[in-house]
């Protein structure tokens, strides 16, 4: 009974929305909005075939490469800058500026500097994604509990052990908040870098469909991007729950009191 109920909760609204969509496209066939049936059949035809290997997978690989590089670089640099006060003061205004630059404007710059290539697209993704991770890590490192930090110092815990057992756990929630922002920026940049300068990839293909007025195909491309976004957000939530299990446990205990 409980399973059936939560099943209804999960699928109720989507089913209702599809029904409304289906009914509203039943009578008049709008040029801009395909019927659910057309969209589903186009989706299969368009994306299950060569396109998976020529457009979808390369895009996803570039996205993964860029995002993971940005996360690693951001955390490393953040740990360094966050633990040295003078370095933080020195870099803060410059970093604030770079964070404020809208990442997509870097696409034309990097196109100029690196030419149109796969590595340029990965660098575009890195250059946009690194800021939320970096700044959140700096903040997280800065906000380490003073008592904990002093205790670690008294017990002679330093170097890598300090990073592993004190700095990373206390900055963890904040670092992951940065990672969450970085994922959506990464997806945006992947699409934009391909829309701008490319002859393959998801962004390119979708714009191509739009220019040739292949409307159902274009919608199916939007759906694919949505699915990638959803998949990334689920993977992230799952990993976050695992990494921060102690943290959520702690919060539950605190809230219960």
């Amino acid at each position: 009974m409980r399973i059936a109920k939560s099943f209804l909760y999960v699928l109720g609204l989507p089913a209702l929305l599809v029904l409304i969509w289906w009914l509203s496209t039943l009578g008049a066939t709008s040029f801009f909005v395909p019927t659910p049936g057309t969209l589903a059949s186009t989706f299969g035809k368009t994306w299950f075939g060569d396109r998976i290997f020529t457009d979808v997978l390369p895009s996803i690989l570039r996205l993964l490469a860029g995002v993971s590089a940005a996360i690693i670089l951001g955390i490393l640099a953040g740990l360094l800058i966050g633990s040295i006060p003078w370095l933080r003061a020195l870099t803060e205004p410059v970093l604030e500026f770079f964070r404020a630059v809208p990442p997509p404007v870097l696409v034309p710059v990097l196109m100029l500097l690196m030419g149109i290539s796969d590595s340029m697209k990965v660098v575009v993704i890195i250059s946009g994604c690194i800021w939320p991770v970096l700044l959140n890590t700096i903040e997280g490192v800065r906000a380490i509990d003073g008592v904990l930090s002093d205790s670690a110092h008294t017990y002679g815990i330093g170097g890598w052990a300090r990073v592993r057992y004190l700095v990373l756990p206390s900055a963890g929630p904040q670092i992951l908040a940065g990672v969450r922002q970085c994922l959506s920026i990464g997806l945006i940049l992947m699409v934009i870098s391909e829309m701008f300068a490319s002859s393959s990839g998801l962004g390119f293909t979708i714009v191509q469909f739009q220019r040739s007025f292949a409307v159902p195909e274009m919608w199916s491309g939007i759906v694919i991007l949505g699915l990638i976004g959803v998949a990334m957000s689920f993977i992230f939530q799952f990993t976050e729950r695992r990494i921060l299990r102690w943290y959520y446990g702690l919060r539950e205990v605190e809230n219960a009191v």
């Binding site: 003078w86 809208p102 979708i206 976004g229």
Partner: protein, 255 residues
């Protein structure tokens, strides 16, 4: 040395490095002009009406989009957030729609509105809406049970309860959402102009790039960064003013 002078030194150091990289020939100057040249181009831009018109277009799209997103998200957030049933019922759909990158809607926006401000607005509203909506949901869920029961036993009606209990609780969350949404809205405004070509700074950047006006392009990019910094400062200021009563602001020592 104080924090401020160090920060200033950091900026100067960065500009110096930027100046030296093309001067020493590490990167060709026609791809990366030295900082002095770019800043000079920016100074020239500041005297041009066309530049300020583009800034105006961008900020107009930003402010309209953000305002619409705030209104929609606050209305939807309070309605959905105050009912357990609606929260669970909409959860799966929200979690599906939220991660859809708004740039995926660029082709659709072009088809529907063409090269106009409406296209930018569509993307800005879509992207900013979720940031605020989710925060409002959290905020409404965070209402203290004791405060709610107290308000009830004092005989406060629904409207009064929303006004005096739910709204103050949700306000800090809402402000965080608005602050995040403000920078997202700027990103989307400029992206839309860059990719679609609706009028504004983004389009000027694309034009400068295709026209080979490289220092001009860098100057415009620096300008977008400056606008971003100003918007961040403005949002922090507004947040501090509206939440001056809240402990998170009162206990804040630095920043």
């Amino acid at each position: 040395m104080t924090k401020r002078t160090l920060g200033l030194a950091g900026i100067l150091g960065f500009l110096l490095t930027w100046e030296l990289i093309p001067r020493l020939g590490l990167v060709e100057a026609r791809f990366l002009p030295p900082a002095s040249e770019v800043l000079a181009a920016l100074a020239v831009d500041f005297q041009l009406t066309a530049f300020w018109a583009a800034v105006g277009e961008t900020l107009l799209a930003w402010v309209l989009g953000l305002a619409a997103a705030v209104l929609l998200a606050v209305a939807a957030g309070f309605v959905v957030g105050s009912s357990q049933f609606l929260r669970r019922f909409t959860n799966s759909t929200v979690e599906f729609l939220r991660p859809i990158p708004s740039v995926a809607l660029i082709p659709l926006a072009v088809l529907l509105f063409g090269v106009k401000i409406e296209s930018s607005l569509m993307l800005i509203i879509y992207a900013s809406f979720w940031q605020i909506f989710i925060q409002v949901l959290y905020g409404v869920a965070d209402v203290d049970n004791v405060a709610m029961q107290t308000a009830r036993s004092f005989g406060l009606k629904t409207v009064a309860r929303v006004r005096y209990v739910v709204f103050p609780t949700a306000l800090p969350y809402l402000m965080t959402g608005v602050r995040l949404a403000a920078s997202v809205a700027l990103i989307l405004a400029i992206t839309a102009e860059l990719v679609i070509g609706s009028p504004g700074l983004g389009r000027e950047i694309a034009l400068a790039q295709s026209g080979g006006a490289i220092s001009g392009m860098y100057a415009l990019i620096v300008a977008t960064g400056l606008i971003g910094v100003l918007i961040n400062l403005l949002m922090r200021f507004i947040e501090r003013k509206t939440l001056s009563w809240h402990s998170s602001i009162r206990s804040e020592v630095i920043v």
